[in-house]
């Protein structure tokens, strides 16, 4: 059965995708369909990531689970750029803590989860490999985001969440030991990496919602020094990557209007990609008489701005969703060493939610088109990139 299921997934995708894509395309069907424009309205478990302040304004205990898949039609130098790990289990839940007295119905918790094939996979490419760093190797990791949110007044929710993982740092010494053979001494640690998410959501009137969320930077360090003794010749290599699985520091402000069964939201976001040190692995190697190190990449990353418009309409038992998003490119046009590129992005999404057999079924999809971009390098060939990324998500949960 598992094999059939796996084969079905592979055949249906005909491409490779990857896990924890919530930061990239949205958490679950509603977020994907509405181009992630839910900072001012989301109040379920998915809001733990989108805006934990919204969790406090939810009213019921809810849970949902499903799957999100990505299909890559991205291209680098005319060839399709695969994305690692094509699917992730997506789950969300939110509940009120049954406190009494002044805190009654004021404290809620939410949980958003993306889980792929592995807890994490750190993939850092050679500098000579072409890639679109906005999409490549940023998201294949377990993401468990618990949120605690409080409602100090009836129209305001403030909350905090964390997104945590671990990096790897340490040393491997493979010297010849007392036994006359290599006896490795390994002294490595997996330090915790935590991304804080702080948010507030306000509903000053029945028609108006406002949201503001800050998401800290997330990056997994990989820092390993390997010393080996090859036939009496000492080799030492330091490998260093500060920003594997990178998500930038973000600030998103949003406003939403409600009119009858129709909701409309506009989100504006700033994403601090200029702090990104790139996806590459820095190597410093010492051999007898020779030191070699990775030259500076010269890649220039820029902060990006995003605008997203999301809409939903309740039509009987159905909820229709639509979204439109724009984001500027994270990279400049000229660099010296790498073949990384990124263009402006346009996203269109649509989705449908419906109660079926007492359960809430949500389906959402989006297409992100990347503007074609050519980079030139001071040494060696440049790169061309563009294409599209399709995200699809289906969840089943407690009824609306």
């Amino acid at each position: 059965m598992r094999r059939k299921l796996a084969a079905g997934v592979v055949l249906s995708l005909a491409s490779t995708a990857r896990a924890d894509m919530a930061a990239l395309v949205g958490h679950g069907p509603a977020s994907i369909a509405e181009a992630q424009a839910r900072v001012a309205r989301g109040d379920d478990g998915a809001a733990a990531r989108e805006n934990p302040g919204g969790v406090a304004l939810g009213a019921r205990d809810r849970a949902s689970a499903g799957v999100t898949v990505l299909t890559s039609a991205l291209t680098v130098d005319g060839a399709r750029a695969a994305i690692q790990d094509p699917w992730a289990i997506v789950a969300a839940g939110d509940a009120t803590i049954p406190l009494e007295g002044a805190l009654r119905d004021r404290v809620r918790v939410g949980l958003g989860l993306h889980a792929g094939r592995a807890a994490a996979r750190v993939l850092l490419p050679h500098e000579t490999e072409g890639a679109q760093p906005y999409f490549a190797n940023r998201t294949q990791r377990l993401s468990v985001v618990p949120a605690l949110s409080v409602r100090p007044v009836s129209w305001l929710g403030v909350g905090a969440a964390i997104d945590a993982l671990a990096g790897v740092t340490g040393a491997v010494d493979a010297s010849v030991g007392r036994s006359g053979t290599p006896e490795p001494r390994v002294d490595a640690r997996a330090p915790a990496v935590v991304r804080p998410i702080l948010g507030a959501q306000a509903r000053p009137t029945r028609a108006l919602s406002l949201g503001l969320v800050y998401r800290g930077q997330f990056a997994v360090p990989l820092d390993v020094t390997t010393r080996a003794d090859v036939a009496g010749v000492p080799l030492e290599a330091q490998t260093h990557a500060r920003h594997a699985l990178f998500d930038p520091r973000e600030l998103v402000a949003a406003a939403a209007l409600r009119r009858g069964a129709l909701e409309l939201e506009l989100d504006v976001g700033h994403h601090a990609f200029s702090r990104y040190e790139g996806p590459g692995l820095l190597v410093s190697a010492t051999l007898p008489g020779v030191d070699a190190r990775t030259p500076p990449s010269g890649a220039t990353y820029r902060d990006t701005w995003s605008v997203a418009l999301g809409a939903s309409a309740i039509l009987g038992a159905n909820t229709l969703r639509m979204g439109l998003g724009l984001e500027t490119s994270m990279m400049g046009p000229r660099q010296s060493a790498t073949r990384l590129t990124d263009g402006a992005k346009t996203r269109v999404g649509a989705g449908l939610g419906r109660d079926v057999l007492g359960l809430r079924v949500e389906l959402g999809a989006s297409v992100t088109a990347v503007g074609a971009r050519t980079v030139t390098r001071e040494l060696g060939p440049g790169a061309q990139a563009g294409g599209m990324l399709v995200a699809t998500s289906l969840t089943v949960g407690t009824p609306r």
Partner: protein, 420 residues
């Protein structure tokens, strides 16, 4: 496959797998369990059910606990201080149970996070002996989760769950050291993957007002590590030109599979606990990492190789006893245990002597606030490592004839909140 065969397969898989534990196996879980020397399996605090007494996860209510514990070692080897790092970290425990007809159903989750990070991935050279229980390389985060169902009238409960760890795999690092118009420089790529690993937790219990009996199985847990590094050297006129692959393989932070049978007798406010742990140390994997060197240079030198041996350990039986007085406002607890050394006489690769554990603790109930009833508990325990003479058939081995002994002091506290 029959259900019985399936369970048997699962159990065999767990025993054969390389898993390992966390500090929980040393200290018990939470201040109450620590004060009872981990003898509380038959009647554990529901908040820590995921580790201590899985069937207690069915207890109705919502509970959460935050704890902290610290173990300070004063062990000696060859009459010199062993200078081992302290073990310390935070515990987070959560449990939710509901009534459903004649049944109680619930779930519990426990997490331990060491101060130093999620895990230590430490190997010693194989000619250096290890403190199996106390080397800092054993510290790691632990995640345990169980679901339980109990029949109120019959007093019978069963639980199933998992202890989740990870393995470190992937293609590792690929380093290229070329020389071109930019001169000698370096380029690298990495592929490191942390995969989930799961060890089963199974438990059953029978509870009456005065008597409770329980049995618990925890699969072995560990973190397998595989770390290949391939270095390709292409420098002008260099005898090292070629490809060298250094492949490191090993298992860290091993905790053996355990089977525990336990009882609790109660008379009024007084409870008496007993437990007997069977730990399958004989399945321990090699404690040192193995290293394979694949050298393809212009000049191919002789490269010695060695494989880390499995230490010769034996299974252990650890008896534990505890007593608790639970008053309306305060509680007092005491516990003791004796854990025999898993080492055999001539072993020099593992140092751990037998241990005598004495524990003491207490707690107070906190005033109810916002509908939450709470409790604050604390404990301290003393682990006396009985003197062990490291003997061997080979006097050239390190520490042949040396003495291993010492003490370990552990303190901890936990704050618990409970909603009906």
């Amino acid at each position: 496959m029959s259900r019985r065969a399936a369970w048997l397969s699962l159990a065999c898989f767990a025993l054969a797998s390389r898993a390992r534990a966390s500090d929980d196996a040393l200290f018990g879980r939470g201040a109450r369990s620590g004060a009872l020397a981990a003898s509380d399996v038959a009647d554990a605090e529901p908040t820590v059910a995921a580790f201590a007494g899985p069937t207690r996860a069915a207890a109705p209510g919502l509970r959460a606990q935050l704890g902290y514990r610290l173990a300070h070692t004063r062990l000696t080897l060859a009459d010199a201080p062993a200078r081992l790092a302290d073990h310390r970290g935070v515990d987070l425990d959560l449990q939710l149970g509901r009534r459903a007809g004649v049944l109680d159903v619930g779930a519990a989750a426990s997490m331990h996070l060491p101060d130093r990070g999620v895990a230590s991935l430490a190997f010693r050279p194989r000619s250096e002996p290890v403190w199996l229980r106390w080397d800092a390389g054993r510290e790691r985060a632990s995640f345990d989760g169980v679901v339980a169902v109990a029949h109120r009238a019959w007093g019978v409960a069963v639980a199933v769950g998992a202890s989740v760890t990870a393995s470190s795999e992937g293609r590792g690092a690929d380093l290229v050291l070329p020389q071109d118009e930019r001169g000698p420089h370096a380029d690298g790529a990495a592929d490191v993957e942390l995969r989930y690993r799961v060890a089963p937790i199974l438990a059953a219990s029978w509870t009456r007002e005065r008597v409770a009996l329980a049995a618990r199985f925890r699969g072995a847990t560990s973190i397998p590590v595989e770390l290949p590094t391939t270095t390709t050297v292409r420098f002008t006129d260099n005898p090292l030109n070629g490809v060298t692959t250094v492949r490191l393989r090993g298992v860290v932070s091993y905790d053996p599979a355990t089977v525990t049978v336990a009882s609790r007798l109660r008379a009024g406010a007084l409870s008496l606990f007993t437990a007997l742990d069977y730990a399958r140390w004989s399945a321990v994997p090699p404690l040192a990492a193995s290293l394979a060197l694949d050298v393809k240079l212009g000049l191919e030198p002789y490269v010695p190789s060695g494989v880390a041996p499995r230490p010769a350990l034996r299974d252990t039986l650890t008896p534990r006893v505890g007593a608790a007085y639970d008053g309306t406002v305060a509680s007092a607890r005491v516990g003791a245990a004796f854990e025999p050394s898993a080492t055999k006489g001539a072993a020099t690769d593992v140092l751990d002597p037998s241990r005598l554990v004495l524990a003491l603790g207490g707690g107070v109930r906190l005033p109810r606030a916002a509908g939450v009833s709470g409790a604050l508990d604390a404990f301290g325990s003393w682990h006396r490592a009985l003197e062990r003479r490291v003997s061997t058939a080979d006097a050239t081995r390190p520490f042949a004839g040396a003495r291993a002994a010492g003490d370990v002091w552990i303190v901890g506290a936990s704050l618990r909140g409970e909603l009906p």
